[in-house]
């Protein structure tokens, strides 16, 4: 079961994470879950083997601030989520423009479940 989950809004995401960096939190990874009408982004952290998580829910199609400016290592996983879920990250330090995990020929946002979401993802693609 998940403990130590902090729910934040997309606007305050960067501040929350920036506050963690100097405290010695290690960024483990980012998990994106298709929550129907929303994307659930779960940022996992570790300090002394203790897990903690930051959760953000954003409506599909919204733009999420990138934390790669704070945790440089987050750039890769954000690119992956961008490919697989069609989430658009803003301020990525290294942006593969949806050509990270998937080639041009591959389906768009294949991890997204519903057709609605696929459409939203495609809308995100248009914006890029």
């Amino acid at each position: 079961m998940l403990h130590n989950v902090t729910e934040v809004s997309a606007e305050s995401l960067r501040d929350t994470i920036a506050a963690r960096f100097p405290q010695g939190y290690r960024f483990i990874t980012l998990t994106c879950v298709d929550g129907g009408a929303t994307w659930e982004l779960l940022y996992h952290f570790d300090r002394n083997y203790e897990l903690s998580h930051v959760r953000v829910r954003v409506p599909k199609g919204a733009v999420v601030p990138s934390i790669s400016g704070i945790y440089a290592c987050a750039a890769l996983v954000e690119n992956e989520v961008q490919d697989l879920f069609g989430v658009t990250f803003e301020g990525l330090t290294v942006n593969y423009e949806r050509r990270f995990m998937l080639a041009v020929e591959a389906p768009l946002a294949p991890m997204v479940r519903t057709p609605v979401a696929q459409a939203a993802a495609r809308a995100g693609e248009m914006r890029m």
Binding site: M1, L2, G24, R26, F27, I28, T29, T31, V33, D34, L42, H44, Y49, L51, H53, Y71, A72, C73, A75, L76, V77, L84, R99, F100, M101, L102, A103, P110, M111
Partner: protein, 366 residues
């Protein structure tokens, strides 16, 4: 008159991979060199992305054990272990003691074969072919042990939700213990070379230095982090039977390729120790409990693989299929560190440095 001056690049640009003999796995690096010094290295991945996370939402939670084992052929057992432990936590299953010990046995066999494999490939990368041969010869003993105990050399398929699928007879335990003794003798044939040979040290010492601070900030895990002086080894948290067996992380502080090599070489002996302890003190109990019902809820499970921490995030909704299976493998966590230490090295060092993080692209991309 066409002006060629503007269009001719002034630096060497080469594709390193995806099809390249020193990288058996398809990883692509766009290397920019000045003379032979690397000034820029940008990776491209996705050559081996199979979409396992999506497949795991389609197959049921029992089948996933086998699917997730194929995330990686090197530490197959450990992937299955991480997943099973996650499901067990969701469903509140208590794993019998013997199963926990057997899980340690196979985990450590996996670790042994992975580290030996890596050591051999490293030798191949710096052009020491006979060392590679020697190490892989030793590695075959581990594979024999795996085959003897699990019925397969690579895909052990012995882990299952609620325990393990095979037991070891007393005779088999004895065989494994004898095999370990032989293995240790094999180690003595090459370990002094790896840590003492002048040409090897020339290729490893001071190459690809990752400072402790970099390692921390870039989130390095496993031997990469430990070689930079960070004591990060999830076996310390005591999953399976590690709590009873006791693990002290192996640490080096130099952060170079040599330190990473030393960490893994010392872990070889550590694994031997753990294996012997686990085999000698294996309690008697059933090897699995029956699992009823369906998982529900969210969980994060982490275990220590040969390359470091692997993380599974599982989200279940009370049906046979899971809602989300997320795998973050150690190489994914170590890639930023690799990219940080590549610039400035020589082209000849690229394979060595790349291998020094023990890259597993297959698990990185899933």
């Amino acid at each position: 008159m066409n002006n060629a001056t503007t269009s001719t690049p002034r630096r060497t640009v080469i594709p390193f991979g995806p099809q390249h003999p020193v990288l058996p796995e398809p990883l692509h690096l766009r290397l920019v060199l000045e003379d032979e010094k690397v000034v820029e290295a940008q990776p491209a991945v996705g050559y081996i992305h199979r979409g396992i996370e999506k497949l795991a939402e389609v197959k049921d939670f029992q089948q996933n054990v086998f699917l997730l084992e194929h995330v990686c052929g090197i530490c197959s057992f450990i992937h299955a272990l991480a997943y099973c432990q996650g499901i067990e936590e969701l469903m509140g299953v208590e794993v019998p003691a013997r199963a926990r010990y057997l899980r340690v046995v196979w985990s450590e066999l996996n670790r042994l074969h992975s580290h030996l494999l890596w050591l051999g490939l490293l030798a191949d990368a710096f052009g020491f072919e006979s060392l590679f041969m020697q190490i892989w010869r030793a590695r075959e003993r581990v594979l024999d042990l795996e085959e003897q105990t699990a019925g397969a050399r690579i895909m052990l398929s012995t882990c299952t939700i609620g325990g393990v699928r095979r037991d070891l007879s007393a005779e088999q335990v004895g065989q494994v213990l004898r095999g370990l003794d032989e293995l240790e003798r094999e180690f003595d044939m090459f370990v002094p070379v790896v840590i003492k040979d002048a040409t090897v040290k020339e290729r490893l010492c001071g190459v690809g230095v990752l400072t402790q601070r970099q390692a921390q900030e870039l989130g390095a895990v496993g031997p990469v982090a430990r070689a930079s002086g960070i004591a990060r080894d999830l076996r310390v948290t005591g999953y399976a039977a590690y709590g009873e067996l006791g693990v002290n992380p192996v640490i080096e502080t130099d952060g170079d390729c040599y330190a990473r090599t030393l960490v893994r070489v010392r872990e070889l002996y550590q694994s031997l120790l753990l294996l012997r302890k686990a085999l000698r003190h294996m309690p008697d109990s059933p090897i699995a409990v029956a699992v009823k019902g369906k998982p529900e809820g969210e969980v994060v499970m982490r275990v220590e693989q040969p390359r470091g921490e692997v993380m599974y995030y599982l989200k279940a909704n009370g049906t046979a299929t899971l809602e989300r299976v997320r795998v973050r493998t150690p190489t994914f966590a170590n890639l930023p560190a690799l990219l940080a230490i590549l610039p400035g090295c020589e082209l000849a060092d690229v394979p060595v440095i790349t291998l020094s993080i023990d890259p597993c692209v297959s698990c990185t991309e899933r």
